[in-house]
Amino acid sequence: MSNTQPRPVESERIALKARNVSFSWEDTPLHWVPGDPFTTHTINVLHLLLPAGERWFVHVYKQVLPLIRDDRLRADVVGFIGQEAMHSQAHDEVLPHLRDQGLDPTPYTAQVDWFFEKLLGDRTLPPGRARRWWLLERVALIAAIEHYTAFLGDWVLGASELDRRGADPTMLDLLRWHGAEEVEHRSVAFDLFQHVDGGYRRRVRTWATAFSALVFLWQRGIRFFLENDPTLTDPKASFKDFYLRGRQGTLPATGDMLRSIPRYLGRGYHPSQDCSTAQAVAYLAGSPAALAAQKREAA
């Protein structure tokens, strides 16, 4: 039945390549959304999760290359790997800046490192079925996580409320360059999962794992930041804080997030049906970091 198969939108396809970006953080204040530590630290959790998380994507995808039997998909995966490697590096460079400002993220990031390097790392498995199963399970997990990175990327590209509040331009450029590349390559992880496995039960199972892990790690990261922020005296955080900021537009709206769940679990889902490649490409055409990367490559 055609309506139970994923239906890609062909016009949303684009050639992928890594951009050699670089950001300097000297001028970015600790609370880079002025006067709003909760929003700042909720988004800052990205810097805790992504360096290890995207390094892990690259690690897994390097192993899956031999399983790809389609040249177009292989080219996409190759482009995807480089973009993810640069995301990991770019977010990693924010961490020393947080440390310089008295907010040492190492206790938390060391746990995230353990999470991705050990818990989700290459286990000592016999070659053959067990090893292949674990590889496919991780490929499916990445597809589920990429559903959310694309969601967040699309959100940050349109989050004009952050500009209105005077958020730091360098941080916004990092988030939007990253978000735009996530939107650019949002179909790759799902296509790869469909290509090497594509089982619906696995899609649901790994979505549940990825979603729970993200919620667990994220709320913990927010609490970690608020408790250790040297400038805050009352480090309280609640779901209400998140909900209200979602309504104001400085964080994703709770309703939008809930609505994205059944989309990923729909049998006819394909990432190209969500988000807009045009918006992402338009941002990259004017992004200071992406333009500097382009100049560097041309030179």
């Binding site: 390549k17 290359l65 050990k118």
Partner: protein
Amino acid sequence: MIPKPRTVALVAGAALLTRRALRRRVRRSPLWPLPALDPPISGRPRSRALKLLVTAHETIADGVVRLRLEGTGLPRWEPGAHLDLVLPSGLVRQYSLCGDPEDTSAYTIATRLVADGRGGSREVHERLAEGTELEVRGPRNRFPLVDAPAYVFVAGGIGITPVLPMLRALPDGTEWRLLYGGRTRASMPFLDEVRALAGDRLTLVAEDEDGRPDLAGLFAGTAPGTAVYCCGPEGLTAAVEKALPGDARLHLERFAPRAGADGSAEFELELRRSGRTLTVPAGSTALAAVRGALPDTAYSCEQGFCGTCRQRVLEGEVDHRDELLTDAERRDSMLICVSRARGDRLVLDM
């Protein structure tokens, strides 16, 4: 069925105790119960982009300017280290550091204007005026000062820049000599300081007065194991390689990539684990050769910044051309998309 009051009290008591114990445990270490990776990986980026301010731009010899680049909390460096400057046009150029390695508030570099060069030095001279903001990466060191019983330094013109901090750093009583050459005396930077540091260990050769340097004379009577450091134009490095005594160890710093079509010569590449030997032609990359033999090799950016194609090097000296790996990583690995062999052969663990 209604539970007995005794059961209710027991369950409630147990729940209360568990909650208290949990809370106490979480308070003791707020991030319990996930284990942590030791040592951690994240939060230690390879190199940080630094934004520096040009606070001095002065001509110190004919065609040579010295720049002072100020910042805060800058990484320390070792003599021989260089900095990657991201010039306003986007060009990335490497310049040796020639100030004080312990100074964490500023870096000093000096560059010579190469009129027919690739444009980098012209930009430094004309566009990096005082007050310009500049992005740099590094510092990195591919020309480190090693322990040796004796040293001979050969510097050609602006090639004195990496050598100068070495001369300052050598402990008293070390046996060393310096040959400092240039076209004219007026074109040679740091002459006064070099004279003061070196005294009678200095051989000064200005081509317009003294002609070509006498390298054979310089190397005559060097002790076995002497470290020879040479930084200068291609002609000088080639002459030093030729005149070098057999028992001396040469450390070279070139101004530009080794001559060839685009600075790349053919070399042989052995893939030890797969038992294959390939030829990497001039003008092509090691990655292309490896992909011909092993099509599933991972790579991505093909420009030496994403790090996906990093491979372990078992034998051979590498001409690193990436902008990612640290000095420590360069000791035993390379990015095969851009880096090449310094000699004519490399062995990779793949």
